[in-house]
């Protein structure tokens, strides 16, 4: 092609013009009540399937509305969620991470709709048990647990041990009921060359540390740590860090666990290579699908467990379709969809127990039920201060790699103290 200066200028001009046209067109996306933008980050889980179905029903009820769904990642919301809420690109409805660090800061900044009126209209206030509702409540400083209702939880989740029943039989160990028994189980397994699956390079190390810490704690401790109700007793964290260092020294998990991602560890467990793994209820359905062995779950021995009401459904203040969003939330909370959630393998809050036929749910639900009845949910460790997750993750990876328990506790204590001072 003969490229002389005239064509060159023309090409350049066209390119710039095209760019401007594209850009401005993109900015002119149909905003207004005829599009309903929804975000969540559930993929292949029971929640994803249930909400998909509820979204379809909403679409059928409102045929003139274009429903636009976007799959996000937990990481995206954790790292930069508030940035999006504060722009006109905020969705009409979203799944949001609960806790001070995410929903809390958003609520305090006025980025989420106070659901008071919708709650009264649809009766959410009375439907939701108060122990679940508190996860959606934030005060004017953004601290979770009391105040206006900004988000609606629709399911529960908790972290416990998944175990391979066949391998347990093979190695001659039983489900432990105390922390000492758990240590013995790990020792017996190790003596026969088996170790737990452990994604020490990812979120699993965060959950492991907290699970061990709260296994020694009570609800007052949780209130102190999560809601700043009092001074934190760091000896529980020291127990956890020392335990992980101990397990590392004794070889109860792979030497290179700090380089293993949770995805890899989970895949290994589901392939039958490891006898047990500490995991969350989000793994229930995929384990049921993939595991070719008999499996079960048991609570981490001790007092409390990592767990909470599930992620929140929130209505951003900049939502252009608040009524539709509220309608969707109500659908999700309805018995029809709560039952569906249960039968898809999830942990509903408001389901009709008798209608739950899925054996996986029954496996998970019995453990969950026991924990809830004992008021044993301790929430998640990264909630109290913004950015805590990244710090715990990095420190945890290091702990798994070098076993320096004192350094771990110091890092997370310093960051917590700094963050707490700024929030109060």
């Amino acid at each position: 092609m003969k490229f002389n200066k005239k064509t060159g200028a023309r090409v350049a001009a066209t390119a710039v013009a095209a760019a401007l046209a594209m850009g401005s067109l993109a900015g002119c996306a149909p905003a207004g009540s005829d599009t309903f933008t929804v975000w969540w980050y559930e993929k292949d889980t029971a929640m994803a399937k249930t909400w998909d179905a509820a979204l379809k029903e909403l679409g059928q009820k409102h045929p003139n509305v274009k429903i636009k769904f976007e799959l996000k990642t937990w990481d995206q919301i954790q790292k930069a969620g508030n940035a999006i809420l504060d722009s006109d690109k905020a969705p009409d409805l979203a799944e949001w991470n609960k806790g001070n660090a995410t929903a809390g800061t958003a609520a305090a900044a006025g980025l989420l709709v106070d659901l008071k009126d919708y709650a009264a209209k649809y009766g959410w206030d009375t439907k939701l048990p108060s122990s679940a509702k508190l996860y959606g409540q934030y005060d004017d400083k953004g601290l979770m647990g009391s105040g206006n209702l900004y988000g609606i939880p629709s399911y529960g989740e908790y972290v416990s041990w998944f175990y391979n029943k066949d391998l347990f039989k093979k190695y001659g160990v039983e489900v432990p009921t105390t922390p000492e028994e758990l240590d013995n189980v790990l020792a017996t397994l190790k003596s026969q060359g088996a170790v737990q699956a452990f994604g020490g390079g990812g979120y699993q190390n965060v959950h492991m540390a907290y699970a061990l810490a709260v296994s020694q704690a009570d609800q007052q401790w949780v209130a102190n740590f999560q809601q700043f109700k009092g001074d934190v007793d760091w000896s529980k964290w020291e127990y956890a860090a020392n335990k992980i260092a101990d397990w590392r020294a004794k070889g109860y998990f792979e030497k290179k666990a700090s380089g293993v991602s949770p995805d890899d560890a989970v895949a290994g467990f589901q392939a039958g290579k490891y006898p047990l793994i500490l995991g969350g209820t989000w793994l229930d359905q995929t384990t049921a699908d993939k595991a070719k062995f008999d499996w079960g779950k048991f609570q981490n021995p001790g007092t409390l467990s990592v767990g909470s009401a599930g992620n929140l459904l929130v209505i951003p203040s900049r939502s252009k379709n608040k009524d539709l969003a509220a309608e969707f939330i109500d659908l999700v909370l309805s018995t029809k969809y709560q039952n569906m959630l249960g039968n898809e393998g999830g942990l509903p809050l408001l389901a009709d127990q008798a209608a739950l036929t899925n054996p996986v749910t029954q496996k998970s639900y019995s453990v969950f039920d026991a924990i809830v009845k004992a008021d044993g949910l301790a929430m998640y460790p990264d909630w109290p201060v913004p950015g805590y997750y990244d710090v715990q993750l990095a420190a945890g990876t290091k702990l798994v790699a070098d076993g320096d328990a004192a350094a771990y506790v110091k890092t997370i204590k310093d960051f917590y103290d700094k963050g707490k001072a700024e929030l109060q």
């Binding site: 760019a19 993109a26 900015g27």
Partner: protein
């Protein structure tokens, strides 16, 4: 010759003038070849494992060439991540931004290199310093402005930012080339009564065309590979660029090593193809700023 008079032609050897190859030289050649192969090894691995079935991966491991090659991972990732859209986003924004950069850079460099306006050393100095400013020192104000101007999550914002960010670099390069522009040609044009505009369009631009093409190629690739600015300014999936999208969605869609390799391969392929096609331009551009 298609090079400007300002560039020196690289010395080329005629094949008949090749020196004799001793044993030592063959050893050296082998050594260098091994070095190059080692350097390209990661790409080779990405290719081999992207077309491997999980079964083959389990049996053969990652090093072997697959026994039963398949494209299904690549196809799956292509569809799941909406790769064509991301490719399109990357391409048109990089191109538009490159056009802006070269256009503005050329105009500015013209004033500096040919017009030799007063204060030009100061301006070039500021541009050179701007070179070194890290994006982190600019990103929050840009993010803030984008939100206020309604350009958040809008690809136009990165076109503008990339386009203008590159002006310093382009101006610097082009003006150093223009500094060596033959004065006689300019004088002759002036005597013919040409004003600045005519001189630029009729005299300078035709001669500078190849240089501008080279700089466009360079800036295009640079924009294509950008990460921080798209990360901050483009939250929605549909607006992501390839560089951003692959990095973010890898955890989402893949849990198997073979699928991850497919994602990495798709992410690298456009750049590699582009490089192969535009190699000469790119090499010329990279060296342009270094030889004074």
């Amino acid at each position: 010759m298609s090079t400007t008079t300002a560039e020196k032609a690289p010395k080329k050897l005629k094949t008949s003038a090749l020196k004799p190859r001793s044993f030592v030289s063959w050893v050296t050649f082998a050594f260098m070849s091994v070095a190059v192969i080692t350097w390209l090894f990661p790409f080779w691995m990405a290719v081999a494992n992207a077309i491997k079935t999980p079964q083959d991966f389990l049996e053969q491991g990652p090093l072997a060439w697959p026994a039963h090659p398949t494209f299904e991972h690549i196809v799956k990732f292509w569809n799941d991540s909406n790769f064509p859209l991301k490719f399109w986003n990357s391409t048109w924004t990089s191109l538009a931004a490159a056009a802006i950069t070269v256009l503005l850079g050329f105009l500015t460099a013209y004033a500096i290199g040919i017009g030799k306006i007063k204060g030009r050393t100061w301006i070039l100095g500021v541009f050179m310093v701007a070179f070194t400013i890290p994006q982190e020192a600019l990103i929050y104000p840009m993010y803030n402005a984008a939100k206020k101007l309604n350009l958040y999550d809008n690809l136009l914002s990165i076109v503008l930012i990339f386009g203008i960010s590159g002006v310093a670099f382009a101006t610097y390069l082009i003006s150093s080339v223009l500094n060596e522009f033959p004065v006689e040609v300019l004088e002759a044009a002036k005597i013919d009564g040409a004003n600045a505009w005519r001189m630029m369009v009729d005299v300078v631009l035709p001669i500078l065309r190849p240089t501008l093409m080279v700089i466009t190629v360079m800036v295009f690739i640079y924009n294509w590979n950008e990460f921080l600015i798209p990360l901050v300014l483009l939250p929605s999936n549909d607006n992501q660029t390839v560089s951003l999208g692959i990095a973010l969605t890898v955890g989402q869609w893949t849990a198997e090593p073979t699928a991850r390799a497919a994602a990495a391969l798709l992410g690298a392929l456009p750049s590699i193809l582009f490089f192969v096609i535009f190699q000469r331009s790119l090499m010329r551009g990279v060296t342009m700023g270094s030889s004074k």
